[in-house]
Subunit: 344 residues, 2 copies
């Protein structure tokens, strides 16, 4: 039933080559003649051979694994981020270990644990505010670290310019007739994560309105958690303040979705009586025709992985910053602009 797995020896025998050659083929070492490489690859294929990662780790003295620490929050953002990271790592025959941060205690335990020491050559930390939680903003590890969706003077950082995204939103919505409203997503109560992204978005948004000379009364802002129901509550609140048409910057697609739902329930036409603009570029935004400020999340993940691999291969330069720019995608939820098609 459970046939023993073939080893590198069998592959070598079958291909009629030495052990070392098989290993070199596996590791993409250049010094292998093309014909030989093909012979080995064929043998691997025929035997259904897969290298034993533990043997590799113990012989190589490395773990060939990158850990991604991320908030234990179910969002498309993290799914896409990991997709991006994984793509790059697979090419280099690296494994990915996901570490959802369920609690502060678990994180610290993990960083001090044997697991990390033996199972990680490098770390990617997502959306996490280091300065809040670690002395000097420095993780207690000697492995290379790259931050994503976060910034730090200590480590390479990959992030989206959320402020710019907010500005795009403001400039765009200001073009429409009707009152302007905004929903701000609340920060995490435990402050574990850097949810300043939402504040940044809002700051950019307000700045853009101010630049256009559009006033924004305080009571046009609604604060809620990251959930569609928050959007529904918000729209009901907004409708007490002004009559349609309304222009709503929802701060996040998840919330925008709720605004759309509630508009439908109330018989208001999206893109006409209620214009909604989200943020994130969530896959469902396309499905429901939600305009949004999209972030290139996969690309951000891939870039983070690249930076980390460079560090793991010995690069020693000062911390690098990679800033990504968001892109406004116009869909039915904001319909067509008043006059000509929108050109920023």
């Amino acid at each position: 039933m459970k046939r023993k797995k073939p080893t590198i020896h069998e592959v070598a025998a079958r291909a009629g080559v030495g052990l070392g050659t098989v290993s070199r083929v596996l590791n993409n070492h250049p010094a292998v003649r093309p014909e030989t490489r093909v012979r080995v690859l064929r043998a691997i294929e025929e035997l259904g051979y897969t290298p034993n990662p533990h043997a590799r780790r113990i012989a190589g003295g490395r773990s060939y694994t990158v850990s991604v620490l991320l908030p234990f929050v179910a969002t498309e953002f993290y799914r896409r981020l990991i997709e991006g990271v994984e793509g790059v790592l697979l090419e280099k025959r690296y494994d990915l270990a996901l570490f959802p941060i369920l609690s502060q205690a678990r994180l610290k335990r993990y960083l001090e644990s044997t697991t990390l020491a033996y199972l990680t050559d490098g770390l990617i930390l997502a959306s996490y505010d280091l300065t809040e939680h670690f002395e000097g903003g420095r993780l207690p590890t000697d492995r290379p670290v790259v931050l994503v969706d976060a910034k730090s003077p200590r480590y390479d950082s990959v992030y989206l310019d959320n402020h710019l995204g907010g500005r795009l939103a403001g400039e765009y919505l200001a073009r429409f007739p009707g009152a302007i409203f905004a929903i701000k997503v609340e920060e995490e109560p435990d402050k574990a994560f850097r949810h300043t992204v939402f504040s940044e978005r809002m700051a950019g948004f307000l700045e853009a309105l101010a630049a256009q000379g559009r006033p924004f009364p305080k009571e046009h802002l609604f604060v809620t958690r990251l959930s569609p129901e928050g959007g529904r509550l918000a729209l009901r609140y907004f409708l007490e303040k002004a009559s349609p048409p309304l222009n709503v910057f929802a701060g996040a697609d998840q919330v925008a979705l709720g605004v759309l739902e509630e508009a439908e329930r109330l018989g208001l036409t999206p893109g006409k009586e209620v214009r909604v603009l989200g943020f994130d570029g969530h896959p469902f935004a396309e499905e429901v025709g939600l305009s949004t400020i999209a972030q290139p999340v996969e690309a951000m993940g891939a870039r983070a992985a690249q930076l980390l691999l460079e560090r793991m291969e010995g690069y020693k330069g000062p911390p690098r910053e990679v800033r990504f720019e968001p892109l406004l995608i116009e869909r039915a939820s904001t319909a067509t602009p008043p006059s000509a098609p929108y050109v920023p």
Copy 2:
């Protein structure tokens, strides 16, 4: 700086014993004289030795690792579950690999991957509906599997009697004056997970009301997602249907929290004008004085781990079912019962 880690050889030398003896101490093998064991343990302590898990895995031919597959949803439920699992595994020197199921595609890829083959001796699958997604409700793996927060005729299952929990809720709330309302948490849209727990709770709840001869009009039910904002929307909706006092079964603590928030905003006293009963036994329930139907989640996790270890050690019996019972915890949100203290 990065001093080389001590190995089992150094430990053996320092303790003045053989290699095998150190290994035996590490693995709790009985045939070691107590004095010897102490000597070895002291040497380990002094050297700060930690065994290399990869070496262990390759020599032992096993991975000494259990994978927990769980929905990528941030709830206390999963945090507590893992806590319970981990406690049992640590004792047996097993590692825990968390695998948040970000998508169906990822799960299937994972199950067919080398990672699983080399990194897992057993699987714990949480809240996952197998029959929906796998031919014959059987996972494509030869490793032992235990389900938790789910049931299956194929595998050992550990779960809470949600129906009973709902019944407890119904019997309890029926004792109070005022109208009865309930919130049902919506199932996942992608049906990936077995969220029938919420239906079961509601079924038990309605059954209890019926048994007491209490009618429950359809419009007293509000359906929403698992978020506090859902609770807030629900309470506003309920207040359109009846005037206080109201008795609300919220279906989940997270939702109950929103009901409490909104009650406060509207100036209604919890436990008097609005009685709220949650479900889960979330830690914050205690903080905010929320009555709830508590589940022993840690214990469920621990039990699942035990069942799995037994399977991994060769136990061959038919699938086992372990049913846990919830417990009603009375707090300020339902105040004191009308007459005597509540005794079920």
